[in-house]
């Protein structure tokens, strides 16, 4: 099987019909993953703070909502956002936006629990100390508790973002021309090289995810090093290898 066939199709797989058309392929995968990551981090922070602050009925409702988004398969949520969102908002929502929405909601649900766990791990001592120094609850949260919580839960964030890159492959089901969709197109056209095509695509994803993992871990270990050498805060835990789903 000539390598040239694979190499000929590589630019299409990486960029889609760009520049003679909209961006597609691996580049679109990266764009999808990035937008969903940012949105889900935002939702996760809000959700985590809400989990930490609410009590009683509001807390139960919040837990149920987050539980719903963690229980529903990503595929089904993409179907829902794809079909229902335009009907609800009465505007034309591009396929890309519906996928980003679905992925951000699910990522946000997982990250809410991660942020909440991080806030608990920081311990009440820190927030009480902050309050005794005269900071308001909001300021205590923003300047004292959250920075430490996020640093503790950083591995969870990285895990979730790696999952996000993989979940972008599901956009194929609703016709978004990212990497898996284009791989199927190319495979349908060539017909006789499925093993090579899918191996190549798996390799591209492998490189993307591993690079993300590696970069993030390097950034984290630098942070951990800095904080462990900070003698004034001996009780600050080093980022543990907490493996969340």
């Amino acid at each position: 099987m000539p390598l040239s066939v694979l190499l000929d199709n590589l630019p299409y797989l990486l960029l889609g019909p760009f520049p003679h058309g909209p961006l597609g392929g691996a580049a679109l995968t990266v764009v999808l993953a990035l937008s969903s990551a940012i949105l889900s981090a935002f939702l996760g922070l809000i959700g985590g703070i809400a989990l930490a602050l609410t009590r009683g009925w509001a807390h139960v409702v919040l837990l149920a909502t987050i539980g719903f988004f963690r229980a529903i398969p990503v595929l089904m949520l993409i179907f829902w956002t794809f079909f229902l969102l335009p009907m609800l908002l009465h505007i034309n929502v591009p396929g890309l936006a519906t996928v980003v929405c679905a992925l951000a909601l699910i990522g946000g649900a997982y990250l809410s629990h991660a942020v909440h766990a991080g806030v608990i791990a920081v311990g009440t001592g820190q927030s009480q100390a902050a309050l005794s120094l005269g900071l308001t609850r909001g300021q205590a949260l923003r300047y004292v508790v959250l920075p430490q919580a996020v640093r503790i839960m950083a591995p969870s964030f990285v895990n979730q973002w790696v999952s996000l890159v993989k979940d972008t492959s599901l956009a194929y089901i609703v016709g978004v021309p990212e990497l898996s969709f284009l791989a199927n197109q190319v495979n349908s056209r060539l017909m006789v090289y499925p093993v090579q095509i899918f191996l190549l695509v798996a390799l591209i994803y492998l490189i993307l995810c591993t690079a993300l993992d590696w970069c993030a871990m390097r950034l984290l270990s630098r942070h951990a090093y800095r904080s462990t050498t900070d003698k004034t805060r001996p009780d600050l835990p080093i980022a543990p290898a907490i493996e969340t789903i």
């Binding site: 229980a71 089904m76 009907m87 492959s169 599901l170 093993v195 798996a202 995810c209 789903i245």
Partner: protein, 244 residues
Amino acid sequence: MVQVNGWLAPKYLLWLWHGFGITLGLAATVALSATALGLVLAMMRRARWSWLRWLAASYVLVFRNSPLLVQLLFWYFGVATLLPETAMTWLNAAHTLSIGPVTLGWPSFEFVAGWFGLTCYSTAFIGEEFRAGLRGVPGGQYHAAAALGLGPFTAMRYVILPQALRIALPPLFGQYMNIVKNSSLTMAIGLAELSYASRQVDTETFKTFQAFGAATVLYIATIALIEVALAVFQHRGARMSHRS
């Protein structure tokens, strides 16, 4: 607005129910195989020989950092072309195995490919959960078991593994929930599980809301049941350790 024009006809409800059955069957068989293989993988990561450890680490890297969808397409469309024709004919024919009163039928090739792909994928994650569980057992336990004269296998079986399992139980059940959710991806290789069935019903009846709603409810109910099972296991485990 949203169309809610009546419930689904019994014929379509039956399709959804069949699909749900396949989802459950697939998830159960994958959970069994992936748990067994995950344990093997976790042990391999702690092996004495570095090439075994390296092999296990590479397995985890490759299967965790590539999407399940691509893996499923690879097994079903890719590897299927590499298998010899006699193997493919055998895999696609209907076989039955009678054990006493029970007759087991060989499932469709889609099911087999879906089971294989999903097992490979889930083994990587479950293996890591077991590894974390094994790491969580204090080193003193190994020494104590050795001091009592237990060989390595007996020590593993009666002392280390039970404790490791107790630690790994919540994330393990989390992975089982993931298996149920990930089974939805097998619709891409033609397996008529729940998401596929809901899509089929939607295409034929155009009752989008009802079709997807029913499927979503079934998925959530299954996940909730697994959560309940976890709570029951943990409660019983805590009670037993209190008693001893």
